[in-house]
């Protein structure tokens, strides 16, 4: 599996820290944010293969961010994380351009699987 550059955005710093730790240990280059307002700057400043995005955040509606991300960085794959086990959110996220949806708490095996697909170019 190729090493990927990954941007994690979640308002819960604990989640960001755990994911960062986990993904770094698997050889990925990881950057974490707790403020979604900073996503645009981050994407413009650097290239990321994957965006791990929590969509129910107090600061911004995650779903609108998905299309923003696509317009700024079309090559970035987006994996949406949702705390609300809601099918509608998943469907909408996919329509907005997300590549996968994971429900919280994140099943680490599912996350690895999703990153494997992206790394092997399955989503392209």
């Amino acid at each position: 599996m190729d090493a990927l550059s990954i941007l994690i955005v979640d308002d819960q710093p604990e989640i960001v820290e755990i994911l960062k730790h986990w993904l770094c240990r698997r050889g990925h280059r990881v950057h974490g944010l707790t403020d979604p307002a900073l996503i645009s700057d981050a994407l413009r400043g650097d290239h990321y293969d994957v965006l791990l995005l929590d969509i129910v955040m107090p600061q911004a509606n995650g779903l609108s961010l998905v299309s923003t991300v696509r317009s700024i960085s079309p090559r970035t794959r987006t994996i949406v994380m949702s705390g609300l086990a809601d099918e509608d959110i998943a469907v909408t996220a996919i329509r907005e351009g997300a590549d996968d949806v994971l429900s919280k708490p994140i099943d680490m095996d599912r996350l690895m699987q999703a990153l494997d697909y992206i790394g092997s170019g399955t989503y392209r």
Binding site: I18, R25, A85, P105, M108
Partner: protein, 761 residues
């Protein structure tokens, strides 16, 4: 009174009385005269006797003469007295002799002239001794004079007799006149009485009889102004007054009856239950129709009952106390439970009002059935509570999820960092707990937000079979499980896995209610819910449903538990034995299918869960994806015969939107006409079974006569229509569409029918 009957009678009587008096007067005068004549005759006779005595005396000789001498002298005296009396009137002896008049008087004067000579002769003879020669001249004289006197006396007597005869005749005439007058008087009175009294009395009697018979319109026609006339007038007036009174009485009775019937109407047809009862005996005095309907007792039964019979025994004391309070207006009311004839309890609002009823102290009681209202209020409260609990639970769940997420995720990292067996075991424990927490949170979130799932046609027979199999294998053998599934069960659109979970959850609940075993029954049937049902159950809509009944013979639940069983985390089980999410998840699934659940429980005797799932009309509207899958037409003409405009419009719109062309018709007759005009174009017909003018079966028969091969689809709101079976078995119709049916059902059925025809031809 000018012409009074008394006057008439008086007049008649007076006339006849005066005439009578006059007649009697003359009669009495005649009597006096007759009497006088009798006296005169007596005097004349006496004189005649004397005259004969004198004659005899003169002719006596010797001693004979001397013997009579004294009496002759007495006779002379008497004779002379008689003459004087007859001439001037006077008393002789015991007789009153009237003075003679007229002819008799002339004769008497002749006698008077003759008398002195006779007297003197007699006195001379008497003064001489008998046979004395000097008497011879006197005797001779006497012998000539005496017959003259006798003769005069005879004449007087003749005159007297004539007079008496005349008087006799006059008396007779006067007597006859009197008799005539009497007869006249009697006849007059009779005539007057008949004319003036009897005839009017007869008329009045007739009138009286008619009045007695109730005919007050009769009037006596009498033109007289007398007493009888007045009496008749009074009778007529009385009759008229009675008639007027009767009319007034009838009118007022009619007005009263009208007013009474109005109030009866107000009372009897009042939609509220109204009853009147005796305050002393508590007996019902009257009840209206609504009361009969509300309580289930007949009017006759009510009249033999007291208010104790409609009050649950435990509330009786307080209830009668409430009614017995001081008078109130209808605006004050209180809610009470009431006992119906069938033993069920209803909630009513009672407003009593003091009245007097037939002289008895009574109360008019206005009763409003609020059972439905209270039930709806309770349902609404429950729904609101569920919603707020859902919102609360969703909020907490989301926060909990955020709390749990780092724990669950970090465990994987920690597992890698601590490869030791002991640490691995501890981490596995932590992970299990955290995941259980996360699962719980997910369940709460699905409950709160509703559950999504696939929607496919579900045949409940299969679900029931699976659930029964699991229950048979896992439930205690002391529980006897039976199933009863309708043969022609309608299929519903839903998620088989979720519906399986619903049944399983309810079966487990039933099992847990029967720790000592019992009977568990699962029954599935088709039901049609009406508007009335929908109005009283906030979750229900009218239409066709599949009803799943799960009943147990277990411990049952008290009302306060039933009220809360669908709340998340509500459980009666011991802490740790149940999550309290089973029934709330069940409800969430049923709701997501457009259905609802009713619970009936008799504490100590068992519980029944009724799950209603809509057949098709209330199914989730098809999304764009499923719509694309719907079979489309290719411009075929469909003849649609239905009398309900709304159904016709919707069906037409559905068919036209999916590639068909539609010829609508209002009724069977119109449908036949349209078919005749477009025989070649029409490929299929949809016919409603119940229509005016020409009903479904007749229309179908008529269409088949024109074209036996024409595909006909029958529709009906009645799922079990016996006529349909006959039509289907005879092959007259190709398919049946139950009403109400969704677009998918219509389109699929039409397509299938047309395809069958294509394959056949």
């Amino acid at each position: 009174m000018m012409n009074s009957i008394t006057k008439k009678f008086g007049l008649v009587l007076m006339v006849f009385t005066l005439a009578g008096i006059a007649a009697l007067g003359s009669f009495s005068r005649l009597y006096v005269r007759q009497n006088e004549a009798r006296q005169s005759r007596a005097s004349a006779r006496a004189m005649m006797t004397f005259a004969r005595e004198f004659n005899a005396y003169v002719n006596l000789i010797g001693t004979e003469q001397e013997k009579h001498q004294a009496s002759v002298l007495d006779g002379v005296q008497s004779f002379e007295s008689e003459i004087q009396a007859m001439k001037n009137g006077g008393r002789v002896g015991d007789r009153d002799v009237p003075a003679e008049t007229g002819e008799a008087r002339q004769v008497l004067l002749e006698i008077e002239q003759l008398w002195p000579g006779l007297k003197a002769g007699l006195q001379f003879i008497a003064s001489k001794p008998s046979g004395a020669p000097e008497s011879a001249g006197a005797i001779l004289h006497l012998r000539t004079t005496s017959p003259q006197i006798t003769d005069a006396l005879k004449r007087i007597m003749v005159i007297n007799a004539k007079t008496r005869e005349k008087l006799q005749r006059e008396s007779t005439a006067v007597l006859a006149l009197i008799l005539l007058l009497d007869a006249g008087m009697i006849l007059s009175c009779l005539w007057l009485a008949k004319r003036r009294i009897v005839a009017p009395l007869v008329a009045m009697e007739t009138a009286a009889r008619r009045i007695q018979a109730g005919d007050f319109s009769h009037r006596i026609s009498l033109n007289s102004n007398d007493e009888i006339g007045t009496l008749a007038g009074a009778l007529n007036n009385m009759s008229a007054s009675i008639q007027t009174l009767l009319v007034e009485k009838t009118e007022s009775a009619q007005a009263l009856a009208a007013s009474e019937s109005r109030y009866h109407l107000l009372f009897d047809s009042n939609p509220h239950s109204l009853w009147v009862y005796d305050v002393e005996t508590l007996h019902f005095l009257t009840v209206n129709d609504a009361t009969v309907k509300l309580y289930g007792y007949s009017r006759e039964e009510f009249l033999g009952m007291t208010i104790r019979d409609i009050c649950p025994p435990k509330d009786l004391g307080r209830f009668s106390g409430y009614l017995a309070k001081e008078s109130r207006g209808f605006e004050q009311s209180a809610t009470w439970p009431q006992l119906k004839k069938d033993g069920s309890i209803i909630e009513v609002e009672i407003a009593p009002h003091d009245v007097s009823f037939g002289g008895k102290r009574a109360q008019l009681v206005l009763v409003t059935d609020v059972t439905e209202k209270k039930s709806l209020e309770a349902q609404l409260l429950r729904a609101q509570r569920m919603e707020s609990i859902g919102t609360l639970a969703a909020g907490i769940a989301h926060d909990l999820n955020n709390v749990l997420s780092p724990i669950v995720m970090a465990i994987r990292l920690l597992k890698e960092a601590f490869p030791g067996e002991k640490e691995k075991m501890m981490l596995a424990t932590v992970e299990r707990s955290a995941k259980r927490g996360a699962d719980l949170v997910r369940q709460v979130l699905t409950f709160a937000r509703g559950i999504k799932g696939e929607r496919v046609a579900v045949q409940f027979q299969h679900v029931i079979r699976e659930v029964k199999q699991i229950a048979d294998e896992t439930f205690p053998k002391t529980i006897n499980i039976t199933t009863d599934v309708a043969v022609d069960l309608a299929s519903i659109s839903g998620d088989p896995t979720q519906l399986h979970q619903v049944l399983m959850n309810l079966c487990v609940t039933a099992r847990d209610a029967m720790p000592d075993g019992g009977a568990l029954r699962i029954a599935v049937s088709n039901v049609l819910l009406g508007e009335d049902y929908a109005r009283t159950h906030i979750d229900a809509r009218s239409g066709a449903y599949v009803l799943i009944q799960i009943s147990d013979s277990g411990v049952g639940m008290p009302a306060n538990v039933i009220d809360r069983i669908f709340e998340p985390f509500f459980t009666t089980k011991e802490f740790g034995k149940g999550t309290g999410l089973g029934l709330s998840t069940t409800l969430a699934i049923v709701k997501s299918h457009g259905g609802f659940i009713n619970v009936y429980s008799d504490y100590g005797h068992g519980t029944k869960f009724n799950v209603y799932l809509p057949v098709s009309s209330t199914a989730k509207p098809a999304n764009s994806q499923s719509e694309q899958r719907l079979p489309r037409g290719r411009g075929e003409y469909i003849l649609l015969i239905d009398d309900e405009a709304s159904v016709r419009d919707i069906t037409t719109a559905t068919l036209e939107a999916h590639g068909y062309r539609v010829l609508p018709a209002n009724n069977g007759a119109e449908g036949i006409a349209r078919y005749a005009q477009n025989k070649d174009e029409i490929k299929a017909v949809i016919v409603d079974m119940a229509m005016p003018v020409m009903d479904g079966p007749t229309t179908i028969a008529s269409l088949r006569k024109k074209n036996p091969e024409l595909p006909i689809i029958a529709t009906s709101g009645l799922i079990e229509d016996s006529r349909l079976e006959a039509l289907e078995s005879s092959g007259a119709i190709k398919a049946f569409l139950p009403k109400p049916c969704g677009a998918e059902q219509i389109l699929t059925t039409v397509r299938n029918v047309l395809n069958t025809v294509l394959i056949l031809t």
